[in-house]
Structures are given as C-alpha cells and as structure tokens.
Symmetry: C2
Subunit: 341 residues, 2 copies
C-alpha cells in the first residue's frame, strides 16, 4: 500500500495533528513515460509550513485532501522512462508518501558513491545549496569578517558556518540549547555559539561579536533578528532565506518582532533592499560628469532649480524643503553668479 | 562681513526658525595653505535635517553654535594654496555662510564651460551622483522594466527618472502636486506621474504600474513606500537613499509607516537585505556537489541528521521542527536504505 499523509485542514497559527490525515491507497502503476519510486528518505523542512496556507508564495500551496508536498530520496522500483533504471536513487517531489510516480521532471539522480544518499535532501541538496549560494553569492564573505548564523545546528546553518570558517571568517552561531551550542562549537568548529533562550542573550552575542557583524545569515526572524540587527556593521549583508519564527504567526504582532509581512514579501519576491550613500560611489563621479553633462548638452536630460535669493532666507527655505514646498533643486543664492547673465 | 546661520538648538520633531541663529562675523583671513571662498550657491538638502540631531549617522552632527553644515559653489577670493587660483569656482563644505576658509581637502573644481556652476551642487554634484549610482549600480535597470521614482520632481528623483528613460524603462513618478506631476511628465518625459496626496493614490499607482514595479527608487518613506511596496515584482530592487517622511519623526509611529528606525539603520549602515530562494541558484548545484562533497570527504565539513523512523511519525516530527526540537537535518526514514549498513 501507498502510505500517505494528506493535508486535511489548514492551520490557523500553529499546526496541530488534526491538520493531517493518514491514508493508505494502492501503490500506483507507472504509465508510459513514468516511473514508480519508493521513498527512502522524506525531507521535512520549515518551508512546508507555508505550503499549508492558502496564500500565494514562491510555490503553490497544497490542496486540501492532497498529500503534503515535499521532496525525498527514493529508489526507482519500476521504470517506463528512458534514462532511469530500476535500483537507481533519485531526489524528487515525492510528497509525504511511501510511493510516488514521476515523469522525470525536476528529478536529480543521487550517486551513493559520492556520499550517503540521504544527503541528497540535506547537505548535497536544497539545504546545502541554500547555505552555499546564500553565503558565497549573496553574503560574499571576506577573510576576517564576522558571520552570525542563526539556527546554527540546523540543516542550513550548520553548513553556512562551516563554509564561512573555510573562507577564513569568525563564525558565531545562535542556537536554542546548550547541547546544540556545544555541538556547533566542538563538532562543527564555529568560534562561538550563543543560546538565544539565555536571559543575557543580547549581552553574550554582543560580546561574541566584538567587531560587529558583517554577515547575518537570516534563518529565523523573531528575537534573534531583533538582537543581531543592531550589531550590523556598515556594508554588512543579510542573506534572508527563512523566518521560522514568523511561520505560525497570524497578523502583525506587537512588540519587537514587527513587520513579518514585510520580511515575508522581501523573501518571497527575492527583493533586494540596500541602503546606500552617494559618497560611497565617488569613483563614479567622472561618469556622472561625462554622461549627465553630455545628456544635458544633448537636451536629453533637463533639470530645474528653485533658487531662493539671500542667505537670510535659508532657514525658511529649508523648513519648506522638508514639507515639499520647493519645486526643483533648492538653492540659496548667497552672492552674484558672474557666469550667469 | 561673513553672514552665517548657526545651529542654535536641536529640534525635537519638526524644526522651527528658533533652531537657527543669524550671525555676522568678520570675513576670515586665509592662512598659509588656505584659501578664502565666497559662496555663490549654497545647497539645501533633506539630509541636513539629520545633521541637526545629536545622533550618530554617516556624518558627524553639527555642534550647537556652529554654522549649519552644507556644501556650496564658491569663487576663490584669495588663495595661499597651490592649485587653486583667484576667480576659480569650487564645490566645498561651505556650511551655511557667505564666506569660508578651505585647505583644499574634499574640494572639487567646477568648470563653468561644462554647465552652469550651480549644477556643481545639483545634477553634476551629489544629487546627480546619488541618482546615477543608485539607479545604475544598485537598481540595475533593464530595458522594458518599470521604475517608480518618489519625489519625482526633486533634485534626485528628476534625474533618476530621466536616466531610466534613457535606459529604455517605463518610468512612473510620484510627486505631491498636480503642477509637479505635469512637469515630470511634460518636461522630463516620465511616462506617468501620480500625486500621492490624491485620495485614490493607491489605485492610480497600481493602474500606472500595470506590470508591477521592478525598481523603486526610495527617496521618501512614509505612505509612498507603503503604497509602492505591495506592487514590487519578484527580483525587484529598492535603492534606498532617503526617508524624508521620517526625518521629523520622534519614536516609532503607529500606523502604516512602521519601523523608521529599521530603515534608518538600513540606510546609514548601507545594509543590503535581499530575500532569496535556493532554486534561483540551481546553476550553483555542480559547485555545491563538488565543493561540499569534497569538503565532507576531506573531513572539513560535517553534517548531522536527525532521522525519525516511520512515515507515521511525520506530522509529529514536523510540529517539533517548527519548535526547534530536532537536532540536525530532520529526515523521516520511510523505508530501508540499502546503501547504509
């Protein structure tokens, strides 16, 4: 029989066992161009909480009565599909069930000689990719920088911190128990790990990050985000790939962990929000003068000036500026301009 | 006499004329290695509001009794400084005064043949650089994308929109009066401009951005940010260079415009916050398998698995995952793993 877990009802806030329904159905027969997979390892991941909702995200939500969505490592039991042979191991969208059919789309083969096949949904699978691309391509660590990793003993965090160590960073983990913290430091080689459930978490984290934080690999949201954020250095980076503390929330909470909807959208839409200040970009000044100067002369770019006469009127003009009263670039003419007729 | 505006007191919220004090002092005499500048154009910019506070930002705040800080275009009146001759035009930190001394540090010469010298603090100065680098280097516009520009008729916004047009984008401005909107469309060539004071601002903006928003050049904060944000497309970018709506705020406001302190820090520290999802980075999978696989084999990277036996236990394990009960990558063993002894 095909053992399945179906989505029975959608949770409001924290899910309960009542949201799931167990079912047994006959093992399906693969049709032409299909293969039958027997699940060996089914991955459970925080993102699945989002699939239980009826809201739009980067992947479709599960329908009521359908098996819970998810990936797994399976063995090919029977194949009517070119390129996949009985006995091969694959990672695919198995959903929460013991058997699944596949037409090969989005299926990745797993080589047991490379590493244990379970890593196909772990360190050599989606969590590994999340850690690798998030840290290296978005966080862009430099030697000597301080990297804070939330959920440090978790599937993603544990990899992030170890890659950061390989890249020569100081790595500070955040985890939720003394055992996890000890594992992160003693086994994974992080420099430090702080338990966010400690009463003096903020002080301990600040002490561990005595040179501030250059990269915060954001996995969790909530109190951890709020505590790390004030420690961020100039030009720091926050790869944002999860907000587990928000997943069970309904509405915008009061208190320090504000705007989960904002962060949810930042994630789901892969938005890049970056503060910047013009003087960081002074090397572009020659281009500004060449391009904008040229475009002005060619009539492609126009500009408008709102010139207030006399330095005595500066404060009033400034107060108006803050209210949007000016129209064009606000200037105070303090003395004659001999170049303008 | 040197006419000056001094910072008399620090504003709490909106500044008033009482915060400024007018003074006249003798025009200073330039010493060795100095030059005397006579201000022609003094620039007024929103960032100056921040200088009136006693809080740390990317530039030092003004001291009580000092002239208000600011840049201006001046003519060299007397020079004891190599490389600067009488009659030359320069942009420098003049502060709010009619005469200033300079040792040449941070001073840029302005060529009147290139453009009117007032542009040295405008389109060919800091506002131009802000627009140019913010749009091109951070926003990275692609042809056909939709760019929304707040404060569209302002010093920075007007340039942003025109560059975006040159780059082949659809440009929608947001401004605060029908006159400004007309100017932005008729004179600057934006495709559309919406008045944020209109009662149906949100509907008009959504209609103008019928394909969503790819770049929001964030100048203002407040209601404009809150209205644009839900329209942001996947992979959209928000160059963040100002939050004029927040500058006079005290504390975190209630209502839609939340977390000004958060955005303030994002800006001041030039933080990059970017949501991302692993499957956008599938091209990195070969690297993941090569590097992480190699590091595992070399013993440089470790991983931990928390394997729950039996699919029947999946929901309970998942609920535990959301509470951090797992320790290591959570897996459900659904059937035997023939590759593991």
């Amino acid at each position: 029989m095909n053992k399945q877990w179906l989505l029975k009802s959608r949770p409001h806030g924290e899910p309960t066992l009542d949201n799931f329904e167990y079912a047994e159905t006959p093992v399906p027969e693969p049709g032409e161009g299909q293969m039958l997979l027997k699940t060996i390892y089914m991955s459970l991941d925080p993102y699945m909480r989002g699939r239980m909702n009826d809201t739009k995200s980067y992947a479709a939500s599960a329908q009521l009565g359908d098996p819970m969505s998810g990936t797994g490592v399976s063995v090919v039991v029977k194949s009517n599909l070119d390129g996949f042979a009985e006995g091969e191991y694959v990672v695919s969208q198995t959903c929460w069930q013991s058997h699944s059919l596949s037409d090969g789309q989005g299926v990745m083969k797993v080589d047991p000689k490379n590493a244990p096949i379970s890593t196909g949904v772990g360190i050599l699978g989606m969590p590994g990719l999340t850690a690798y691309a998030g840290l290296l391509d978005i966080g862009k660590p430099k030697e000597g920088e301080t990297v804070v990793v939330s959920a440090a003993s978790g599937a993603v965090g544990s990899i992030v911190g170890q890659i950061a160590k390989i890249k020569g960073c100081k790595v500070v983990g955040v985890a939720g128990s003394p055992e996890k913290c000890a594992y992160v430091v003693d086994e994974l080689g992080f420099d430090e790990c702080v338990n966010y459930k400690d009463a003096d978490f903020a002080q301990k984290l600040a002490a561990a990050c005595d040179k501030g934080v250059d990269i915060y690999f954001e996995n969790v949201g909530g109190i951890v985000f709020d505590t790390v954020f004030p420690l961020m250095n100039d030009f720091s980076r926050i790869p944002l790939c999860g907000r587990i503390a928000n997943y069970n929330m309904t509405g915008d909470p009061e208190g320090p962990n504000k705007l989960p909807a904002f962060f949810g959208q930042m994630l789901v839409k892969r938005i890049m929000l970056r503060g910047f200040i013009s003087f960081d970009h002074y090397d572009r000044f020659p281009d500004v003068v060449r391009d904008l100067g040229g475009w002005i002369r060619e009539g492609k770019v126009k500009y408008k000036e709102d010139i207030v006469q006399g330095i005595e009127n500066a404060p009033e003009a400034f107060l108006g500026l803050l209210k949007g009263k000016n129209f064009g670039k606000l200037l105070v003419q303090v003395s004659d301009d001999p170049t303008r007729s």
